[in-house]
Amino acid sequence: MTDLIAEMADRLFAAHSGNTGLWAAVEEAGLPFALLAEEAGGFGFAPAEALGIIRIAAGHAAAAPVAETVLANHVLGAAGLDPAEGAAVVATEVLPAEDGRLCGTLRRLPWARDAGTVVALTAEGRMLRLTAGWSIRSGSNLAGEPRDDLTFDLPLDGLTTAESPFAADTLLAMSAALRAIAIAGAAEAALALTVGYVNDRVQFGRPIGKQQAIQQNLAVMAGQTAAARAAADMVSEAFPLALSAPELFRLKAGAAKLRAGEAAGVCAAIAHQAHGAIGITREYRLHPLTRRLWSWRDEFGSEAFWAERIGAAVFARGDGGLWPWLTRTGEAA
């Protein structure tokens, strides 16, 4: 089953590498509902399988809000709300309300200009399913992906809301988790591209990949890529904990984001070093991956942000010691 969905997604994103018609194909394939249960219109895949789609999309540098919409439909479904029609995005900031009106700005919302639905929380922990009522100020991240500011001013009355099963912190952690997964995909693709390049590029009469210095660097990149992938797998497997053990989930998500984020910087640097000048050329396909790596590692909490949170949790762990804390399962023991 894993192979099936992975192959299908890989074919789909490869067929739309120019991004033309990509979103229509994503919707046609039902990918926005990847995390939904079968009875809710999803595939009924385990989260770890469904989230593989995000990794594969990232590996193709797909310019579409796949991760954003998959997450939005997941949290809407968990709150008992209808899934979004079309693209959607989850805000990790609380949207303030005053005198019966929702008014405030959500900053740097990914792909907001393409999203028909915005999911946000009120200060009271209600989940809002918003489909209109904002003005937009366009922006983008280093990779050219839309990151837009949305300003709201509309009456609370008549809005679709539900009790949110997730705190804002958990939404942030879930968003960070999806970036960790995407980093793994982009790093993996950058590694494959770099291995191919050093096998082809001949200098001093032989492929540069035969040089030990290049081999050692690429081995480091492979190790970092493997760590990013393991971080992605770790948090994918832990995804159900967002509902059942949110505190443990936030730590795992933070650890995954931190580890993948560290790998992102190392991988981008080695990929560029091995490629030489062609790698920093507009028409070559390394920079869509590396610019995403550099953007994503700072989105939804940088390494420093999560390190501080995890550190605070470690110091607050009580007197049980670090090892029992590291090996706890989150399951009822």
Binding site: G209, M234, G311
Partner: protein, 382 residues
């Protein structure tokens, strides 16, 4: 790319009871006086009585068949016990090599007589092994071994020198890699022989390390007469067998826990009033440990299913040793003390010990450069 693909690790919950059992045993056996400096020695802490107690609890030779004194437990249960021993810094040196690599090697390639004679003693924690790989002119280049065994009437005559042989002075046996024939292929013509360390002609000379400790030895083998029955596996198959032995050596949770005693000490020292910098440094360390554990448990799962995770294990060893070596640097950035082996302060002692032990982390079991060469081969570059 399969080498960066780590299969989902097995669930932890079924092993929680075993974990608790090992923890309780260690707390009772090691006692409150077993402090951080002792824990930091873990791998190098030799305590034959402790190994015997582990054997009595059934926690050595765990995966061996019961007809060889083993306990037929799963590879995952073995993993849990090993992880708990290392996290507690238990003195595991006496049985470490025998349990980790010699027993599985003998089970795979040993003769029936070797298995019956030795495996039950390993499982009992009364029979210790040393590794007979490195030589004066053969370190990373293991195929350059020069020790040679001549076939003679009734057995083998072994001569040569083994070097950096950890706890040879306490071991009952060595598994020696040596040349037994001629071959154009430098990986051919080598075999593994079981050497009784009490045999005439075996001389063990201590080598003191820079911390002042005696773990290493030079082992001189001067016309050591070994019976025919000393041959392990097939004559000439030594290279294949020793690669398998190295895979056992590289695939345990020992790749990221060598400096764990210092991590625990660091947390204790900082616990009073950790500032944001301390929280960040510790949080980062813990995140790395969480992901390394995920990878390590994935490898344990692959081993338990009979798969060959050699490449994944190489990657985890490279990542794990890099982190272990960073730990004393992180510690000194947060706690401004001078390392000293004379201090009464457990943090300072643990820091000093870990600092002096750290260079070895990326040497033993294959240097960093050798590991990265193996990874590059896995990438298709060699």
């Amino acid at each position: 790319m399969s080498l960066i693909d780590f299969a989902p690790p097995p669930p932890e919950a079924p092993y929680a009871a075993l974990r608790a059992e090992v923890r309780a045993f260690l707390a009772e056996t090691l006692g409150p006086d077993f402090g951080a400096p002792a824990r930091a020695r873990s791998w190098s802490g030799f305590d034959a009585a402790f190994s015997r107690r582990l054997g009595r609890r059934g926690w050595l030779g765990m995966t061996l068949p019961s007809r060889y004194g083993g306990h037929e437990r799963s590879a995952l249960e073995h993993y849990v016990v090993v992880e708990e021993l290392l996290a507690a810094g238990a003195p595991v040196a006496a049985h470490w090599i025998a349990d980790r690599q010699s027993a599985p090697l003998l089970l795979l390639h040993g003769t029936e007589a070797q298995r019956q004679e030795i495996l039950p003693r390993i499982a009992a924690g009364t029979c210790f092994f040393c590794i007979g790989m490195s030589e004066p002119n053969s370190g990373s280049d293991l195929a350059a071994v020069q020790s040679r065994a001549e076939k003679v009437d009734g057995g083998w005559r072994l001569s040569g020198t083994k070097l950096w042989t950890t706890y040879a002075h306490e071991a009952h046996y060595m598994i020696a890699l040596c040349r037994t024939g001629k071959s154009d292929d430098r990986h051919g013509g080598v075999s593994q022989l079981l050497v009784d360390m009490k045999a005439p002609g075996v001389e063990v000379l201590p080598i003191i390390d820079m911390a002042g400790a005696h773990h290493f030895n030079e082992v001189r083998l001067a016309d050591v007469m070994l019976p025919d029955s000393a041959l392990i596996g097939q004559e000439g198959d030594g290279w294949k067998q020793v690669m398998g032995e190295l895979a056992f050596e590289r695939s345990g949770p020992d790749r990221f826990l060598s400096a764990f005693a210092l991590v625990t000490e660091l947390l204790r020292v900082l616990a009073g009033a950790p500032d944001a910098g301390a929280q960040r440094a510790v949080g980062r360390l813990v995140a790395h440990l969480m992901v390394l554990r995920h990878m390590s448990r994935s490898i344990a799962g692959m081993l338990a299913r009979g798969e060959n995770p050699a490449l994944q294990a190489t990657i985890v060893k490279d990542l794990g040793t890099a982190l272990e070596q960073e730990i004393p640097e992180i510690a000194r950035a947060l706690v401004p003390v001078e390392p000293s082996q004379e201090s009464p302060d457990p943090f300072v002692l643990t820091f000093a010990h870990t600092l002096l032990a750290a260079p070895g982390f990326s040497l033993r079991g294959g240097t960093r450069e050798i590991l990265r060469g193996i990874i590059a081969r896995g990438l298709g570059l060699r």
